[in-house]
């Protein structure tokens, strides 16, 4: 029982945007898919749900291939970020029509929940999607994701444009739904720190490759920010996996990813701190920065 992809490659115009990606998403977990712009997150989610074809590779849900397989697709929902720009055709569709179509196609659609969420987010069903703000469009995608009741639900930037109150409502809703149903959620987001508390496992996608897939808590327990005098820091982290060195005059800071059994000794000239998920992500995917005094 899982959503798996094996050796997924996607090529656009000769450029590989996904490079041999293999993943197994287990049921009953909340995954966070994080990566920089253009890392391939939306492409990966689209391929996992057969919305886009892969150039190479296979995707299966609970052992069944998803491509052109209605039975397998019924177990999936990818509520994608809605773009209602000038080029978009969906701008003229009203909110209630969009939800009606979703209700028609998702086998387990929860009509009562739809009513409750439309009221919670104060959405006007008669409004056209093109007339909604970015935050309101995110609310529509959240409603589709939640009400679909799909066992594997994928959300692309669900909190984009939402104010802090609506974001809190979303995380609360997500946790309530997760606790009540045990559905699997995959959430792609750039607001990493805020989402970190709800993500059980984190997948970091960088330049089309899965850089890391790990239990969020386990990851945070093995990442340290080591700073102090440059030569002391270098000595303290010798032989460890070091990322994102920053120097300021004679001071230096590095992020280290410890392996089992490894540790960094703190001393008078070397400070060792735990880091948050955002810092760990930046250390892995950010450009190397040097600040000379």
């Amino acid at each position: 029982m899982s959503l798996t992809c094996e050796h997924i490659t996607k090529v656009y115009g000769g450029r590989e945007v996904l490079k041999d990606v293999s993943l197994t998403l287990e049921p009953g977990k909340i995954y966070g898919l994080i990566g920089r712009n253009g890392a391939g997150k939306t492409t990966l989610l689209s391929i996992l749900t057969a919305q886009n074809p892969a150039t190479r590779g296979t995707v299966a849900v609970d052992g069944e291939p998803v491509w052109e397989n209605r039975k397998a697709l019924e177990r999936l929902c990818f509520s994608r970020e809605l773009n209602v720009g000038a080029e978009s055709g969906i701008a003229a569709i009203k909110v209630k029509e969009y939800l009606r179509i979703a209700a028609t196609y998702y086998a387990g659609w929860d009509k009562e929940m739809e009513k409750r969420l439309v009221a919670l987010f104060e959405l006007d069903g008669k409004k056209k999607l093109g007339k909604l703000s970015k935050g309101m469009l995110s609310m529509v995608t959240i409603i589709v994701a939640m009400c679909s009741k799909a066992p594997y639900t994928l959300l692309d930037e669900p909190v984009a444009g939402l104010d802090v109150v609506a974001r809190e409502q979303f995380y609360k809703l997500l946790l309530e739904e997760y606790a009540a149903t045990g559905r699997t959620f995959v959430i792609s987001t750039h607001i990493i720190e805020e989402a970190a508390d709800v993500l059980e496992e984190v997948i970091i996608l960088h330049e089309g490759r899965v850089l890391l897939m790990e239990d969020t808590q386990a990851l945070l327990e093995r990442v340290r920010y080591v700073s102090g005098k440059a030569e002391e820091v270098d000595a303290a982290v010798a032989g460890l996996e070091v990322h994102h060195p920053e120097t300021l005059g004679r001071s230096k800071g590095v992020t280290v990813f410890l392996k089992p059994g490894q540790q960094v000794e703190e001393s008078r000239d070397v400070s060792v701190q735990l880091v948050n998920l955002q810092k760990a992500f930046v250390a892995l995917c950010g450009e190397e920065e040097r600040h000379e005094a």
């Binding site: 749900t49 052109e68 979703a102 196609y105």
Partner: protein, 219 residues
């Protein structure tokens, strides 16, 4: 498949509403333009307008269906195969409904126009299938290669407008003569009209399926 059918039946009904609006416009224009109102003649002519409206609607709805609804429905977990079948089913339903209604009205209102209409049903069907298929191919081209389709649209509608304009300038006699000739020609229902319809349908289906298989969802 049941859910997919439910969507396309509803979509057909929405398409039929558009057909009826276009029909109403034709009828009003016809009634206003006539020197004296003859309800029997108008009733006998109405099916012709209905068929014209159905033809125009199936052409006009193609772009919206392919650009908006098909990607939307893929994003909601429907298979491309079912959408392909649903898309062709809805167009067949509109054509069948328009032809069926027209035949019914012609059968109820006897006269020369009705006789001509009833004897031309197979040819009318072939023409509607051809126009819907060509419209669908245009829709697919527009979806994939917007500029090519824009040039084609300007060329086709420009040519139609030009012919129409010259005919009206000539007192409309050319149009009447052309329609008469066309009706007489179709009454014979040459085999190649049916073949053209089948070929257009096959080309549309093949072209649409090839692109649908590779279509990427971008909402």
């Amino acid at each position: 498949m049941k859910r997919n059918l439910r969507f396309w039946v509803r979509y057909t009904w929405e398409g039929m509403q558009m057909v009826l609006i276009v029909l109403a416009i034709f009828l009003v224009l016809s009634a206003v333009g006539a020197s004296r109102l003859e309800l029997t003649a108008l009733a006998a002519a109405a099916p012709a307008y209905l068929l014209l409206a159905a033809g125009l609607t199936t052409i006009m709805l193609n772009y919206g269906t392919q650009v908006v609804y098909i990607p939307l429905l893929i994003s909601m977990g429907e298979t491309r195969r079912n959408l392909f079948l649903g898309y062709h089913f809805y167009r067949a339903l509109i054509i069948a409904a328009a032809v069926g209604l027209s035949a019914l009205v012609w059968a109820l209102v006897p006269g020369e126009i009705s006789r001509l209409g009833l004897s031309n049903i197979p040819a009318i069907l072939a023409l509607l299938v051809t126009s819907a298929s060509l419209g669908s191919i245009m829709g697919t081209i527009y979806f994939k290669w917007k500029w090519v389709a824009t040039i084609l649209l300007v060329a086709v509608f420009g040519a139609c407008g030009g012919v129409g304009g010259f005919s009206i300038a000539g007192g409309g006699e050319d149009v009447a003569r052309l329609v008469g000739k066309g009706a007489a020609f179709l009454a014979k229902f040459p085999w190649w009209v049916a073949l053209a319809a089948l070929l257009a349908l096959a080309a549309d289906a093949a072209f649409h399926w090839l692109l649908l298989r590779r279509q990427e969802v971008r909402l």
